[in-house]
């Protein structure tokens, strides 16, 4: 089974949400990472046949999915981001309704709904109205409905949003178990969620794929660019402002361990020096560390963060020139 995305494009007026994106999926788990607005949801909607692309197409084993229509959707499972529930339905009603929509025979629908509710830990609440559910319970119900028809292509848009750590672990194991012989495409902002279970990571930026590969492959791209420095708190702040900083751990002695990504160490030294004057900055201890997927993410999107930070002052300047502020 192969799902091919071919120069897929979606415009919203002048805005290009997905830009000539191409990729070939074979069975496996794909983690889709990208900043807010990168186009993940838009891409997934098109994959799930609920949004028509502006151009390009999706093919399943060589046949355009638009031509497959209902036969394609029959093999699809989808958990949308921000997805609505029927508050007056019980969990079981909801599952049986979707089972009917997915074309499951009635007995199968019953059995499968029961099994899946059990699997996502909602067996005890199957008679309860969905309006009484917590966010995480709804999310679990959403995951359960997505796999009702044992889909060959499973698309999960931020499936772990709202799950507590225990549920997240459970969810990861669930996906790993369900993923056999399936194409699983899941987006998330929680890098560690996909680091464990994804066979491949896809990174999206501004509607395009910027990186794709196994977690090990792609993290090697930032090998030698991740550092930790033990500095005092002031320097830590300065580094945070100037560099792409991941974790900052504050120790008891007012010192901090800063993890950051940078193309070269000189860049970091310069930033540290600027904060303190050459004296102390030059002496900070920088040591290289093994990169993780999160480091890669930060590295890939470091411009985005910088751009985001640069915008407000510019807007502020315009306002001042317009004379809205008293001098």
């Amino acid at each position: 089974m192969e799902l091919v995305i071919d120069r897929l494009t979606k415009h919203f007026g002048p805005k290009i949400a997905v830009d000539r994106l191409s990729y070939a999926f074979s069975p496996g788990v794909y983690g889709l990472l990208g900043a807010n607005g990168a186009g993940k949801t838009t891409l997934m909607r098109m994959v799930c046949d609920v949004l028509r692309p502006t151009s390009g197409e999706i093919r399943l084993d060589g046949t355009p999915v638009r031509a497959l229509g209902e036969r394609y959707r029959a093999r699809l499972g989808y958990l949308p981001q921000d997805f609505g529930y029927y508050p007056d339905f019980s969990a079981r009603d909801f599952m049986e309704y979707l089972a009917a929509l997915k074309g499951l025979p009635r007995d199968d629908a019953r059995r499968r709904s029961g099994e899946l509710l059990e699997l996502v830990g909602l067996a005890g609440e199957k008679r309860a109205k969905i309006r009484t559910f917590s966010g995480g319970m709804k999310q679990r119900l959403g995951i359960a409905q997505a796999v009702l028809n044992d889909p060959a292509i499973l698309v999960l848009d931020e499936p772990t949003a709202g799950l507590d750590p225990k549920e997240r672990v459970r969810f990861r194991n669930l996906i790993a178990r369900l993923a056999q012989d399936k194409i699983v495409l899941l987006s998330t902002h929680i890098v560690s969620d996909v680091a464990y279970i994804a066979d491949e990571i896809l990174m999206m930026r501004a509607g395009s794929l910027v990186l794709a590969g196994t977690p090990d492959e792609i993290t090697s791209a930032v090998a030698g660019k991740v550092w930790e420095a033990q500095v005092d708190a002031r320097t830590a702040d300065a580094l945070s402002a100037a560099l792409t900083v991941g974790n900052v751990r504050y120790a008891e002695d007012e010192r901090a361990v800063v993890r950051f990504v940078a193309d070269s160490l000189d860049e970091a030294r310069a930033a540290a020096a600027q904060a303190h004057g050459a004296a102390d900055g030059g002496q900070a201890a920088f040591s290289p560390v093994t990169p993780t997927l999160e480091d890669l993410y930060l590295y890939t999107f470091r411009d985005e963060a910088a751009r985001g930070a640069a915008q407000p002052p510019a807007a502020g300047k315009r306002t001042r020139r317009g004379g809205h502020f008293k001098r």
Binding site: V50, E70, R73, F83, Y86, L98, L101
Partner: protein
């Protein structure tokens, strides 16, 4: 498919607003019909003012007492007998000159205080209709009816249709239209039969209340599609196997099945009260019993059926329109406001004496449901060489609306894009 329809029903009726409105309207209809019975007033022959079931019984008894086939011989004899009775002690020429009040006083002074009531039996009001002038009592009209008039009774009845057309201030009837109505009137069977058809009459008078169920149906159907868009459930539904095919059909079928069931419930309340309290007899009497000037060759039972049928078509038409709007917008409020505008606001717009506006307003759900508008106002819509009467046009408009909007609604949902 049945499972899908069942769940769609559950969604539609599970909403609290829908549930409240549906129950509320049923309770309101029951209330309206109970009041309709309780507040019926009538004078009996002795002049006592009766109300409720007593009034109904009295009217029934008075009409049934005079029931019969109105051959010209019977009409002539009845008119002569009536004139004999009134003008035995009152001068006929003098009566013709009196005002309504003075005539009443004279009758009461001459024959006793109860006589005016007895002489105002509904039969004579009905019988003297061709010569009746507004505000008159039958004993005044009787003063002007000659023996020749009585002998040409059915010509006088036919002339009522002509008079309606002649006297219209806003609509100039073309010869084609005149021919249409004249023809239709010619088909009214002679002799007419007189009698009591109170239950059927009451249905015709009350079927306009079915706009309340119509509105409840609109409220219930508004979120059928728009609610899915609004709540964000569309993404999952449309990605399902049957999401773009059977689901749309299931929604439409559920909507129409519910609308039909609810309409039938509303109609059953109106018919139930009417036929139970006013009696089910007289279904085969001609509708001229309600209004002699009506040119329609219909029985009372058939007229009631036509009224209910038109309202049902209107319900389906507006339901179809609601579904279409629902499928094309995300905002349930917009749909509801549009529905209220179509159903109620159009009933409040005055036509200002403009015939074209009046003809258009007559097509709306508050425009057509009245006996006189449908059956005796002679409202027609000339369409080239053809002339269509209001009943036909209302039926066509709403059948067309339902037939066009419903599939379009399904199509819009099938093509809906989640963005």
């Amino acid at each position: 498919m049945l499972t899908l329809i069942r769940f769609e029903m559950k969604k539609m009726l599970g909403r609290r607003v829908a549930l409240a409105v549906n129950l509320g309207v049923i309770v309101m209809l029951l209330g309206i019909m109970a009041l309709n019975v309780l507040q019926t007033n009538a004078n009996n022959a002795a002049g006592d003012l009766l109300s409720g079931t007593e009034a109904i019984a009295s009217t029934r008894q008075r009409r049934e007492a005079k029931a019969g086939v109105l051959t010209v011989e019977k009409i002539t004899a009845d008119i002569a007998a009536y004139q004999e009775r009134v003008f035995s002690q009152i001068d006929r020429a003098q009566m013709a000159e009196l005002t309504d009040g003075a005539a009443y006083d004279l009758v009461a002074a001459t024959y006793g205080p109860k006589a005016p009531y007895e002489l105002c039996d509904p039969y004579y009001t009905f019988l003297f209709r061709p010569w009746h002038l507004s505000g008159e009592a039958p004993y005044q009209t009787a003063a002007r009816i000659t023996a020749e008039d009585a002998a040409a009774y059915y010509d006088a009845v036919a002339n009522l249709t002509q008079a309606t057309m002649d006297q219209s201030l806003t609509w100039a009837y073309t010869p084609t239209e005149r021919a249409f109505w004249t023809d239709l009137q010619g088909q009214v069977a002679e002799p007419l039969a007189y009698g009591y058809a109170g239950g059927w009459d009451n249905i015709v008078n009350c079927f306009a209340f079915l706009v309340f169920p119509l509105l409840a149906i609109c409220v219930t159907l508004t979120p059928v599609f728009a609610g899915e868009y609004q709540d964000g459930t569309d993404a999952v539904l449309l990605s399902c196997r049957w999401g773009r095919g059977r689901l749309a059909a299931a929604k439409i079928l559920a909507a129409l099945a519910y609308a039909t069931a609810y309409y039938v419930a509303g109609a059953a309340i109106i018919c139930g009260f009417s036929l139970f309290f006013y009696g089910a007899g007289g279904a085969d009497l001609p509708i001229q019993n309600y209004d002699l000037s009506s040119p329609y060759p219909l029985t009372c039972g058939l007229a009631a059926l036509i009224c209910l049928g038109l309202m049902y078509l209107a319900t389906l038409g507006v339901a179809g329109l609601t579904l279409l709007m629902s499928a094309r917008t995300r905002s349930t409020l917009t749909v509801l406001v549009a529905d209220v505008a179509i159903v109620f606001i159009t009933g409040l717009i005055p036509s200002g004496g403009n015939a074209v506006i009046a003809h258009i307003l007559s097509l709306f759900p508050l425009g057509f449901p009245a006996f006189s508008t449908l059956f005796s106002s002679l409202t027609d819509y000339p369409l080239g060489p053809a002339v269509l009467d209001l009943i036909t046009v209302v039926a066509l408009v709403y059948a067309l609306l339902a037939a066009v909007c419903t599939p379009l609604a399904a199509r819009s949902f099938r093509r809906h894009q989640v963005a």
